[in-house]
Amino acid sequence: MNRHEEMSGLLVDSALGELSPQEQADLKMHLDECPKCRLESKRIEALLKCTQRMRELSADPQACESAEKAVLEAVRIQKDKRQTSGSNTSLEFIRRITMNNRTAKLTAAAAVIMVVLGGVTFWPGAPQNGKWWLASPAVWGQEIIAQMEKIETLVHREQAVIVGRYGRTHVSGNWSRIYQAADRSRKDKFYEHTDESTFGDNSPDSVLVQVTWEVPDGKDLKLYQVSHEHKCYTITTREGRAYRRDPMNELRAYVGKLDKADRILDTEIFDGRECVGFEIDSSTGGDNPVELTDRIWFDVETKLPVRIEKHGLPVTDSPGQTFTFIDDKFEYHAQIPAEKFVPKIPDGFINAEPGEVWAAKDKQVKDKMLYADVPAGLRDEVAGVLDNVKTATYRQRVGFMRDDRWLFSDASKLYISPNAWREDTLSGEKVHQTKFFVPDKKYWGKTSFDFNDKDFKLTQTTVNFSDRTYRVVNHDSKSHPDNPMDHIIRIADMLNRADRFWQDEEIDGVKCFGFELSAKKYGSNPDTHKHKMWFDAKTKLPVRMEFAWVQTQGPGKEVRDEFQWNPAFAVGTFTPEIPADFTVEEQD
């Protein structure tokens, strides 16, 4: 990172009063020389002046009195209505009373009507062309709840997707089918190797790995967990916990959350049915705040939930990734054969926890793994810094050891932005080939929510300046290559699992800390595959990465270096420009 980047990073710290006197003096000196930072500093000042003005606003005493009276009147009306009806109705109407005062409009049109439906509050709207979700909330909500109350059995599928920060998605091979009845349930967990977006569904490649039953035993609840993967089982008793459950409980809770919906989504087709969706912010607070978003789609015809997505669930030990859980393929009033809920333990299975069996096997297969002492909080600091990276460039080379020397291929230069990226392959100093990876502009800025977008397209354009040819390949959501930034973040996230950690190493004149990690730590990789990564000790940004392996001809490695973080790119950096005389190379 150069001096300008370093100083511009301090502008926000300065605005929040967090710089030391020396840092403040350094910043002031830089501002005297840098018009760009001076402008940025003025902008920050303008924003904080705006907030200062906002701080000085207040309501006059009569407005306050009016507001108090309105609340108390609304409470009185609500209580009177309850007493008159004599029942705890699920429908309540609350009208904000516009008091007669000089701060408010006095007409009925100024009153806001909020319809409260068993805890669900909808904003009023009018039916438009059969779009019932904009119609009177009382009818819509009442209908959904009434339908749900009749449903006693439910079957649905659950699946998980791992999402990288730059949009890379990986569908987990694990998926489950869940059966729910009034007092019992069963969960069948399958494993299927998937590519980017195929969802497992009883395909021939799905293997049953685990079955879990929850069934009543008198007043107790018994949990049977049978792992077909590890050929073991456990039985747990929860005393006094046998109870009548409501399979629709979680779905009803989602309907109840719709009063906090942030927006209505465009209709989509799921399983051949047109559905309307709602998006709800379900973030949690506390010392480890988590930004969560739920999306729930309802069948336009039946008004029952068809799909629920829970976005943003953290992945343990990978701050750069999140989980999205998907519940779909709901079967309401499902006819579930009674034997589905009868626990079966195959002959020869041992009584043990699956985790213990797996750990024992893993220990046999792999050597004892090393874990270095990494300073507490360092990985999260690095993750936080990478969170603020918007653009990057770096050099990439592949080398092989021959006669005790590393020989490197021609280098590539990568240019990365959150949406598009580009790879220039160099021949000496000259660009021999450029690959552009550019999603359709309508997907720029899209989030992980849209990974199931069937119209998604990423265009890869390869321009070969040596052969004077070009080639265009369109990737869909199943096959698109990943943004290189996602990979960098994934490796950096593994800092806490390092085999070795070191500090005070100088790389290209920059004081760095670094770590080494065996690739077997995160999968069935050979011990000879190792990653190394160095970070600027001050900025915590990557300075160098190496991926080493051993093959029959000897050691090889891929090296990434010469990183520049958050550089400004010229207009057109990600726009393929193909000279008129270049010929198209046919696709295979």
Binding site: V12, D13, A15, L16, E18, L39, E40, K42, R43, I44, A46, L47, L48, C50, T51, Q52, R53, M54, R55, E56, L57, S58, A59, D60, Q62, A63, C64, A67, E68, A70, V71, L72, A74, V75, Q78, K79, I94, R96, R102, T103, A104, K105, A110, V112, M114, V116, G119, W123, K260, D262, D281, S283, G285, G286, D287, N288, P289, E291, G384, D387
Partner: protein
């Protein structure tokens, strides 16, 4: 004291705080009154669940900021400055209010686009003037976490509002 009386006491004691917080975010007293009613009616609906240990100061700050920002998100336009002058807002400096009101509108809209915690931390710090320790108590997190949220919020707002901040 019966429930309703206790609730009335809460409204009497805390209305000013709730209303003023909403006014500062929305810049419009009528919208702030809507938020005020939403806040207290939401509390009333769950009144039987609150125990004597609720920290009302922190709770009301949290809920009011959240509801005001949600309100800003739902309502896409705010009243003009001319109407604001007749709406009982107390202002201290009349100069430059036209431009200030426009920027404030934009800021309220941008707050609605921030992640919740960042928006909450920013409002409580920059608009309500609380320090990180106080904000941490309200949001249920450490002062360090509050600082992280503030940093991120400020950076994102700078990006969102860029052009509107040039004199």
């Amino acid at each position: 004291m019966v429930s309703r009386e206790k609730f009335k006491t809460l409204v009497d004691d805390c209305s000013k705080q709730v209303l003023n917080t909403a006014v500062r975010i929305l810049g419009d007293v009528e919208q702030a009154q809507d938020v005020h009613q939403e806040v207290f009616m939401a509390i009333w609906r769950r009144w039987h669940k609150y125990n004597g240990r609720t920290n009302w100061n922190a709770y009301l700050y949290r809920v009011t900021v959240r509801k005001a920002i949600e309100f800003a998100r739902r309502s896409r336009s705010q009243q003009s400055l001319r109407q604001q002058k007749h709406n009982g807002l107390s202002e201290h400096k009349p100069d430059g209010l036209m431009r200030a009101a426009e920027l404030q509108k934009r800021l309220a809209g941008s707050l609605a686009e921030l992640p919740k915690r960042q928006a909450d931390a920013f409002v409580l710090s920059r608009i309500e003037g609380l320090d990180t320790r106080q904000i941490g108590e309200i949001l249920g997190c450490s002062p360090e976490t509050v600082r992280v949220h503030l940093h991120r919020a400020l950076k994102r707002l700078m990006r969102e509002l860029g052009d509107y901040l040039i004199e």
